[in-house]
Amino acid sequence: MSFAESARPAGQAGGFHRIVFTGKASEYFGIWIVNVLLTIVTLGIYSAWAKVRRNRYFFGNTVLLGRSFEYHAKGLQILIGRLIVLGGFVVLNIIAALVPILVLLPTLVVLIALPWLVAKGLRFSARVTSYRNVRFDFVGGAGGAFKAFILGSLLAVITIGILTPLASRWVARYVGSNLRYGGKAFETDPKLGPLYKSWLLSFLIALVGLGIIALLVLMNLSLILPMIETPGLLTPEQQIPLIFSAVIGYIVLFATFGIAGLFYKAGVRNVTWSATTFDGQHQLMSDVSRTRYTWIAISNVIVTILTLGLMRPWAAVRMARYTWEHTGITFTGDVGELFNRIEAQGSAVGSEFMDFEGFDFGF
């Protein structure tokens, strides 16, 4: 194939290298529609194998230095993992139903088990991923997952979003600094300053959204107040502008919070990746444009819905191409030399067959 010739010799020298995404919408369309069809026909059972084909396609088309990443999980393994989690959940609920005192048991167990499942899921995702025949590994535990995901989101929620950057920092550190490749560590430590800088814009966008909703309420105050005092006073004709405003308010809320979330997500990605090093010397980088990223995400959803899902493969490939091609790594020293030295390290090898997926977590 012509690609083999053009891709392989790509820069063995050190320096900066961008990731290339070689997936094509037309090619993925076939994989996607067959996945959907077989998932429907098997009432969902095939979805485990569908996930394997989808991930193999996306990983296999993510290329660094002419070599692609690889996804190694097996469909049966994912299916068994899902059945274990589902089975545990059903058993818990049956126990809770049989012994009414234990009504809160499922919630309690889920809260305790969730960090463990997240850690397990991250480890699974890392261990079924390889680059140049060497697997990734993840060494984070349940305690770290509890702090990063549960404590972090709790803090973010009770401070109405003001501490979100702190939570993002915890997540980035937990995921980034526990990642290993061939026994060598990644190190991530995004600073709060840049995180808050990208958070501020999102916060303002969310405020604008809330402002519009407050305005809508004020405009309809003459109708809302009597309705609260004496329900049923309004004629259906009077209710129409009220329902209209409620629908607009819902859309505004969805749109502004969606845009704010996407802006923030792109900003955090840039800050986090650019604050990550591999083996203490090779610097990772992300330079996605927040506006462009948000535009791609929103137009993807609109196009997907308007085409009854048929443009979803195009949308998925478009997003993957944009984000990966704005990601790169600066190697210090000779790359050939570097990859001559990297060897798989004990724990990550082969043990994925004893692993199960736990809580699926995109990695």
Binding site: R8, I33, V34, V41, F339, E343
Partner: protein, 363 residues
């Protein structure tokens, strides 16, 4: 293949790179078949790096045009972008080439058939598959489950909201006698139902049925009805209808089934579209519970007629609701219950039909 001159008994398969087991070190190599064995030999060399019989090597399945891996028994791998070369070799050795799934996935005109099949089967699963699964689940649910669900719910409500009834004994007896008359008309028999009186507290005027046949009516509803016992019995007949038709279990299984199906295709539709689907599913569930209310209304009319009561007694209850709560709203897609004026009309129409009068809409 790079013009290398191959010995006559060497069949070239593909060019690529070879990795020792667990190492990122790579050697430029080609895959050949020699003397019944498949082997990786270095470019410009003849001594094989690894080799084994075809049944001893593992060749990864084809997904799009991502690189193929050939894993040798010693754990070393050969990786190539030349999918066609590998497929040609596999086809020649009677191993089916790239496989059936890949054949289906190719971007050819026949994909249209798969797209149509996916839509038709998706609709069929929604229309018949989910309801069928719900029926199977209901049929296999042991009676202990609804009993436990009901016991837990009533205990919880008693502890938090309800207090013992304050109705006079003779008023309760009137209602209980009327209830026994209609319960005897239910195919399950009067023994399948138990009527409980409670002071509703915050819940106010209400009546509800638990899936095991436990019915609860609040003092507030009885008081609101004034002296009209027949009307209260009409409401209880509606609740018996919910129990007979197993609405609560059915609704629970339906919601669980739909959520499960959406989650299984989530990876193939993206998280934003998944959210939209879940919201849409919620709206559909509301409209489903509206049809359940209409079914229970009709059952009330039937039971009341059989027991020799006024079949439209429950319509009087809706008239009272309109008067007291000012509910004049028309049926609205966002509401759980059909608008009360509409329900009243449907009840009167239905009672005419079952009493042998002609359908008023056809007059």
């Amino acid at each position: 293949m790079k013009g290398s001159i191959l010995a006559s008994d060497n069949a070239a398969i593909a060019a690529g790179e070879w990795h020792p087991a667990g190492s990122s070190r790579s050697v430029e190599a080609r895959l050949i078949e020699r003397a019944g064995e498949i082997a990786a030999v270095p470019v410009g060399g003849e001594k094989p790096l690894a080799g084994a019989g075809l049944s001893w090597v593992e060749i990864s399945g084809r997904v799009g045009s991502i690189p193929r891996r050939v894993t040798f028994p010693d754990g070393s791998i050969f990786e190539t972008w030349d999918n066609d070369g590998v497929d040609r070799y596999l086809a020649m050795r009677g191993k089916g080439g790239a496989g059936l799934v890949h054949w289906l996935e190719q971007f050819r005109l026949r994909l249209i058939v798969i797209v149509l099949l996916a839509f038709v089967l998706g609709g069929a699963v929604y229309r018949w598959g989910v309801p069928l699964l719900v029926e199977v689940a209901i049929a296999t649910t042991p009676p202990i489950v609804p009993q436990l669900m009901a016991k837990g719910t009533l205990e919880a409500l008693d502890q938090t909201t309800f207090s013992p009834t304050k109705l006079p004994d003779d008023r309760r007896k009137d209602i209980a006698d009327g209830f026994a008359r209609i319960a005897a008309q239910s195919p399950r028999g009067a023994g399948a139902y138990t009527l409980n009186f409670r002071d509703g507290g915050l819940i106010g005027p209400n009546a509800f049925a638990l899936p095991d046949g436990t019915l609860v009516i609040t003092d507030q509803l009885v008081t609101m009805a004034g002296g009209d016992t027949e009307m209260v019995v009409g409401v209880l007949a509606h609740e018996i209808g919910h129990v007979e038709l197993e609405h609560s279990l059915r609704q629970f299984y339906r919601a669980a089934g739909m959520t499960g199906l959406i989650m299984l295709i989530a990876g193939d539709v993206g998280s934003a579209v998944e959210d939209v689907l879940v919201q849409g599913g919620g709206l559909l569930a509301l409209s489903y519970s509206r049809s359940a209310e209409a079914e229970a209304d009709r059952r009330s009319v039937e039971l009341m007629a059989k027991a020799g009561y006024d079949p439209t007694a429950i319509a009087r209850f809706f008239a009272l609701l309109e008067e007291k709560l000012g509910d004049k709203s028309n049926t609205n897609i966002l509401s759980t219950h059909p608008g009360t004026p509409q329900r009243k009309k449907d009840i009167i129409d239905y009672s005419r039909i079952i009493s042998g009068q002609s359908d008023p809409d056809l007059q």
